[in-house]
C-alpha cells in the first residue's frame, strides 16, 4: 500500500468530489483489506484505540452492520446511535449532536441521514472525520465503491465497461454515486427508468439516459438494479409495482437476450418480484452476495484512509 498518492481528506462525503486517483487508492486499499475477513482471526490493529460512531437517522441494517463489522475488524470501538433512541427526538440539531460526539473524543462519525447534504453540514461543523453512509437522494459513496470494487474484481478493469443502472434514478443516491465513480474511471454508464423517475438533465452528468429498457441493456456488461423505494412519498408517480415489474423488472427471460456473461448487481434490500425476479437474484449471473462481502473491505479501506488523512 505504498502509494504515491497520500490520502488527504478528513471526510468521505461524495464521489463527485474525488479524483480518479483517490478512487483507485480506496479500491487498492480495499483489496489488501479483503483478505482479513478470510483469516481465522479476523482482525487487524489498524484502528486500535479509535472510536467509530455509526450515527443513523434512517433505518438501515446492512450498511450499518457492514460499517460495524468493518470497524471492528480494524479493532476500533464502535458505538451505534439510531435516531429514534437518541436525543434527536428532543429536537437536538445534527450539528449539536455532532459537536457532542466530538466532545466525547470519538474519531469517526459514519452518518446516514434522510436529507441531501447532511454529511456536508456535519463535516464542516466538526473536526472529526465524517463518512457519508447515504444522504437523502444525494450520494452513497461506499455503496458505489463496493459496486465498483466488485466489478473490477470480475472484469479486471472499469474502463470501457458498459454499466446500466436501472430503477428509480431520481431518488437514488446509489445511482448518483455510481455515476460519478464509474464515469471517473471511464466506464460507459447508461441509466434507465420510466420518465417520471429520470431526474432533470441527468445526461449532463455524462451518462446515457433512456426509458427503453431493451435499448439500455443491449450492450450491457453489468446491470445495477436499484431497489424500488416503496416507502417513499413519491411512490405514486409510477402506477404499480406489478406494472413496473412487467416493464422494467429484470427476469431470466430478459437476460436470455443479453450478453451471456452479463453480471447483475443490486444494492439491497431486494424487492423480489418488483425490480428483480428471484431466479435472477439467486442465479449464476448475480453478484449480490459478493457485493455484501466486498462492502466490508471497502468500508475498512475508507475508515482506515480517513483516519490516516494527512
Amino acid at each position: 500500500m505504498n502509494n504515491k498518492l497520500n490520502w488527504t481528506r478528513k471526510d468521505l462525503l461524495a464521489l463527485s468530489e474525488l479524483s480518479k486517483e483517490e478512487i483507485e487508492l480506496i479500491l487498492e486499499t480495499a483489496s489488501s483489506f479483503k483478505e482479513v475477513s478470510t483469516r481465522e482471526i479476523k482482525k487487524v490493529p489498524a484502528l486500535r484505540g479509535k472510536t467509530v460512531v455509526n450515527l443513523f437517522y434512517e433505518p438501515s441494517t446492512r450498511t450499518r452492520v457492514s460499517f460495524e463489522i468493518a470497524a471492528k475488524r480494524l479493532s476500533a470501538d464502535v458505538i451505534n446511535i439510531i435516531a429514534d433512541s437518541s436525543s434527536v427526538r428532543k429536537g437536538e440539531s445534527l450539528v449539536d449532536t455532532g459537536k457532542n460526539l466530538e466532545a466525547l473524543k470519538i474519531d469517526i462519525i459514519v452518518l446516514r441521514h434522510n436529507s441531501s447534504g447532511a454529511a456536508h453540514l456535519l463535516a464542516r461543523n466538526v473536526g472529526v472525520s465524517v463518512i457519508n453512509a447515504g444522504d437523502g437522494w444525494h450520494e452513497h459513496p461506499t455503496q458505489a465503491l463496493l459496486d465498483i470494487f466488485t466489478l473490477k474484481e470480475k472484469f479486471g478493469k472499469i474502463q470501457g465497461l458498459n454499466v446500466t443502472i436501472i430503477g428509480d434514478i431520481a431518488h437514488s443516491r446509489v445511482a448518483r454515486s455510481n455515476i460519478w465513480g464509474l464515469t471517473k474511471l471511464k466506464a460507459n454508464v447508461c441509466v434507465c427508468a420510466p420518465k417520471e423517475l429520470l431526474p432533470q438533465d441527468i445526461e449532463k452528468l455524462g451518462v446515457r439516459a433512456t426509458t427503453d429498457i431493451d435499448e439500455a441493456l443491449k450492450d450491457a456488461d453489468c446491470i445495477n438494479v436499484l431497489r424500488m423505494q416503496l416507502e417513499r412519498d413519491e411512490r405514486s408517480v409510477f402506477p404499480s409495482t406489478l406494472e413496473y415489474f412487467k416493464q422494467y423488472g429484470i427476469t431470466q427471460e430478459r437476460l436470455k437476450k443479453l450478453k451471456k456473461n452479463i453480471l447483475i448487481m443490486h444494492p439491497g434490500p431486494l424487492n423480489r418480484g418488483v425490480e428483480i425476479s428471484s431466479e435472477v437474484a439467486d442465479g449464476e449471473n448475480s453478484l449480490i452476495l459478493e457485493q455484501v462481502t466486498n462492502g466490508i473491505a471497502v468500508r475498512m479501506a475508507v475508515l482506515y484512509l480517513v483516519s490516516q488523512a494527512k
Binding site: 463527485s16 440539531s93 441531501s116 447534504g117 453540514l121 444525494h138 431518488h171 448518483r176 432533470q200 441527468i202
Partner: protein, 426 residues
Amino acid sequence: MRLIIKEGFIVDPINNFKGNADILIEGGKIKRIDKKIEEKADKVIQAKDKVILPGLIDLHVHLRQPGREDKETIFTGTKASAKGGITTVLAMPNTEPPIDSQENLKLLKEIIKRDAQVEVLPSATITLKREGKKLVDLKSLKEEGVFVFTDDGSSIDDEDLMLQAMLTAKKENVLLFLHCEDKNLSGKGVVNLGVISTRLGLRGIPKEAEYKRIERDLKLAKDTDCPIHITHISCKESVELIAQAKRKGIRVSCDTCPHYFSLTEDDLLDFDTNKKINPPLRTEEDVLVIKQALKEGIIDCITSDHAPHTEHEKEIEFENAEFGTIGLETELSVAITELIETGIIDWQKLAELFCRNPAKILGIDRGSLTLDKEANLVILDPQKYWTVKKEDFLSRSKNSAFLDKTLKGKVEYTIYKGNIIYEEKK
C-alpha cells in the same frame, strides 16, 4: 454642523453631473457644490480619489421588526444599511404581525421613529395576513403614508383577487410590488431545477414558477393600466417578458439582486445554505442575461432582498434551512466588482441603478445631490479590496451568500441628513 467634502468624484445622474468637486453641507442640507470651496467648517473630509454617490435606495429589505427581533431589528438593520451606503430602505411588511392595518403600521412607525438610523419607508401587505384571500384597506393605509403594497414572500394565486388589487391600486395611485412565484410549480423545491438539483439530490424549482407568474401579472397590469414593480427577477425568461412588456408600454419596473448577477447554482455544490435563496440561484446563462439587462435598462434597479436569518435557522439540513441572504452591507461592493470592474456598466449607470431609478419608481425626491435638499450621500474608495467576514457584519444575522469573497470598492463614509452615520475604521 458645517461639513466640507473635498475633491471627491461626484456622480449624480439626476442632475446630470459627473466630475470632481467640493461639497458643502450645512443644517443637514447640501449648500454648495463647487470646484473649490475654501470656507470654514467643523469637519473636512478629504475625498481625493474617492467616488461620491447620492445615498443608495434599497427597495427590498426585510428588517424583521416587529416580531423577529432575533433575526434583525430596525436599529441593527439600518446600522447595516449605513455601512452599505444605503440611506433609504423600503421595509417589507411580512413581519409578525404583518403590516396590514393602520394599527400595525402605527406600531412600526413608532419603532422607526425611535430606532432608525436611515430613512425607513414602510410598505404594507396587499392582502390581510398575506394570505392572498382578502385585500387590505389600501385607502386607509395610503392616508397613513404608505404608497407601496406587497405580499412579498408570496404571490396572490387568485387571479380575480389580483385583478381587484390592481384596480384598487390604480385608483388609489399606489404601487404594487410583486414577488412573482407560482407555488404550485415551485412546490417543495429548494434549488434551481436542472443538472445541479439532480446532482445534489435536492428538489428543483423550475423557472416557470417565476416567469409564468410574471406573465400573468403583466397581462393584468396591461388590462388595468396599473403600475407594477416586479422584484428579484432571477432568470432569462423573466427578463425577456419584461423587456417585451416595456416595449408595449405596460407600466412595469423591476429589480434584481446582487446574487442573481454574481452567483450561480454551481455555487451550491458544497450545500452552503447561505446560498439557498428564493428565487433560487440560476445558471451562468441567466447571470449573463441579467447583467446585460442591467446595462440596457430593462432591469431598473438593484435591491438586496436583505433576508436575515439566525444561525439555527440556516446551519441545518439544506431542505429545512430558511431561504435568503443578507445583502445590505455587500450590495454596492458586489455591483462594483461584478458590473463596473468587468466594464459592463460605468459609475453613472451604477448611480442610476441604486439612486435615480429607485427614487423614480417610488416617486420620492431622493437619489440626487441637489442644493438645499437633504444631504444623503456615500463616499467610497473604488480601489479598495476587502474580504467579507462574518464578524464584520453589523446586521444581527450573518447569513451572507458572499462570506469569504473578496470584493472591490468599499464605503468609507455614509452621510444622512448631513450627519456622518457611518465611518470606516482606518
